[in-house]
């Protein structure tokens, strides 16, 4: 499992207001999505990579590794989009024949696929910027300002805490199983996994009871209200972000299409 959380608390942009970071990430993501040229998303990707590696001081290797994760989905999706099946060769840029049908790519489909790939990678880099610089907890505090229901946010922060408790349990159980030869072949793996799930489920249940008792012991009255960390707010940052977004949009208008095959 890849754990982004491990890096986020050590990143150098931790002290920046979470709302500013979220604004930058989400606005750039939207600009990528509405872009009609491949250059805007590529610029966004470059910008985000620069911020993540040089400003937030995240190891470039880890960022590179993260960028590979959506590749699995993208390759499958892109192939499906780019390749079409037909019974006549008209319009195909490249094709080959299987039996009596033609499998191949058309120029328009290829252009669409490349644009989509760039848009997707651009947005993915925005997501990573947010994930690598802003701890989950601060994202919830931004959501609170956006008037997301309190119950939803309470559940979010409880789940975030519990995930790590359960991951710990899962890891120790797994170690204990492996030390007793639990994952040596397919059969034992299958048996071990089902017992791991069962044990986790029972443990989750017991822990939830214990935590509820602890909450009650501290005067729980139906809502979980807590203090939140305060951040200095910077108007300058908002102005810089706005300038970045406007220039990305202008870039899209002036350089335009960027069709490679059409």
């Amino acid at each position: 499992m890849i754990n982004i959380d491990q890096y986020v608390y050590a990143n150098k942009l931790l002290t920046i207001h979470p709302a500013e970071k979220s604004f930058l990430a989400m606005a750039t993501m939207v600009v990528c999505l509405i872009s009609t040229s491949i250059y805007t998303p590529i610029m966004a990707l470059t910008l985000m990579a620069g911020l993540i590696i040089f400003k937030a001081d995240i190891p470039a290797k880890f960022f590179g590794h993260l960028m590979l994760i959506p590749i699995a989905f993208l390759v499958m999706g892109e192939l499906t989009l780019a390749i079409s099946i037909s019974d006549h060769a008209e319009g195909f840029l490249y094709h080959f024949v299987v039996g009596d049908i033609l499998i191949g790519v058309t120029a328009t489909d290829l252009d669409k696929a490349v644009l989509l790939l760039s848009k997707s990678l651009g947005s993915v880099s925005c997501l990573y910027f947010l994930a690598l610089t802003t701890p989950m907890l601060e994202i919830t505090s931004v959501l609170r300002k956006l008037k997301v229901p309190a119950l939803f946010l309470e559940l979010m922060s409880l789940i975030y805490r519990l995930i790590f408790v359960l991951l710990d349990s899962a890891a120790t159980i797994r170690t204990s199983q492996s030390s007793r030869l639990g994952y040596v072949n397919w059969n034992s793996s299958f048996r071990s996994t089902s017992q791991l799930f069962y044990a986790l489920l029972i443990k989750s249940f017991q822990r939830s009871q214990a935590l509820a008792t602890a909450l009650e012991a501290r005067c729980y009255q139906g809502d979980i209200r807590v203090l939140e960390k305060e951040f200095p707010c910077s108007v300058r940052n908002y102005i810089i972000i706005s300038i970045i977004e406007v220039s990305l949009i202008l870039l899209n208008f002036y350089i335009g299409g960027g069709k490679l095959f059409g």
């Binding site: 701890p135 935590l211 602890a214 012991a217 501290r218 009255q221 203090l227």
Partner: protein, 286 residues
């Protein structure tokens, strides 16, 4: 006479699965006392503590706080939970929040204080437990010892009169256990009443003002440490050992190294001192 702060009167409790957890338990806790409740796993210590905090209601008998019998009205429960805090055994079963600030502020926020007051309480509690630098840390990356401290700060932030610690030194290594006991002494000096449950007899013997021995939901005996640990049969029937100080002391008397009238020592310094007293230390003059 010091005022009684907390009192359990003949309380009985049976869990829904039929286990009789408490049978006619009586316990009187006086203001400012340091109390240790000893007993093996499953003796009913934790169940008793949950009664003091009104998480559980006794089937029979009653709990008194400052002499007033609990009626389990909502306001009264809130008041009680504010004044009596429980630090649970496993911090992972107590810490629910993702950051230390959020975690520690939960209690005071429930008391309806203003944000500034809550922040003040949190800062004071973190200072007392010496973890002010952890305030912005996420809970899940803390070490076990740090989590334990946060779980104590949780309770201190509500400024309770009585603090109950369930097995506080379990899993702590000797240094952390020692630091923890220092913290307990500081709290006690600030006037808090402290109750701990443990099966570490050496610790209980040196630290507590008064000791309760529990077994299978009953209080077998209570009294000053010296009195309790004299009752050898009671101690062993509760699956406990005698503290090594007591045992060594008795052995010295048996061997004639100390006169049988010597008081039991409370710590090792006292033991060695009693041996070193001139009239008994014959070898010094060799």
């Amino acid at each position: 006479m010091v005022e009684t702060i907390l009192e359990a009167e003949d309380i009985e409790y049976t869990y829904t699965d039929g286990t009789k957890a408490l049978r006619k338990v009586n316990m009187v806790v006086r203001c400012g006392e340091k109390i240790a409740v000893l007993g093996s796993n499953g003796a009913g210590k934790s169940t008793l503590f949950l009664h003091f905090n009104a998480i559980l209601q006794p089937e029979r008998g009653c709990i008194r706080f400052h002499g007033r019998k609990l009626s389990y009205k909502k306001d009264e429960i809130m008041e009680l939970r504010r004044k009596i805090g429980i630090v649970f055994q496993d911090p992972d079963n107590q810490l629910f929040s993702a950051s230390v600030l959020q975690e520690v502020s939960f209690g005071p926020m429930n008391l309806g204080l203003s944000e500034a007051e809550v922040r003040n309480c949190v800062e004071k509690a973190l200072r007392a437990t010496e973890i002010s630098d952890l305030i912005d840390r996420p809970t899940h990356i803390l070490s076990f010892g740090q989590k334990k401290r946060v779980s104590i700060a949780d309770i201190l932030a509500m400024e309770p009169e009585v603090i109950i610690f369930d097995e506080p030194t379990a899993w702590l290594d000797p240094r952390h256990a020692r630091e923890f006991m220092q913290l307990l002494d500081e709290l006690s000096q600030q006037g808090k009443t402290i109750i701990i449950s443990t099966h570490d007899v050496d610790l209980a013997y040196s630290w507590a003002d008064r000791i309760f021995v529990m077994k299978q939901g009953q209080v077998l005996t209570d009294g000053k440490p010296e009195e309790v640990f004299c009752q050898q049969e009671v101690i062993s029937s509760a699956d406990l050992n005698r503290p090594w100080l007591v045992e060594t002391h008795d052995e010295f008397i048996r061997l004639g190294l100390l006169p049988s009238s010597t008081c039991l020592p409370r710590n090792k310094e006292e033991l060695y001192e009693s041996l070193a007293r001139p009239c008994y230390n014959v070898f010094r003059h060799f």
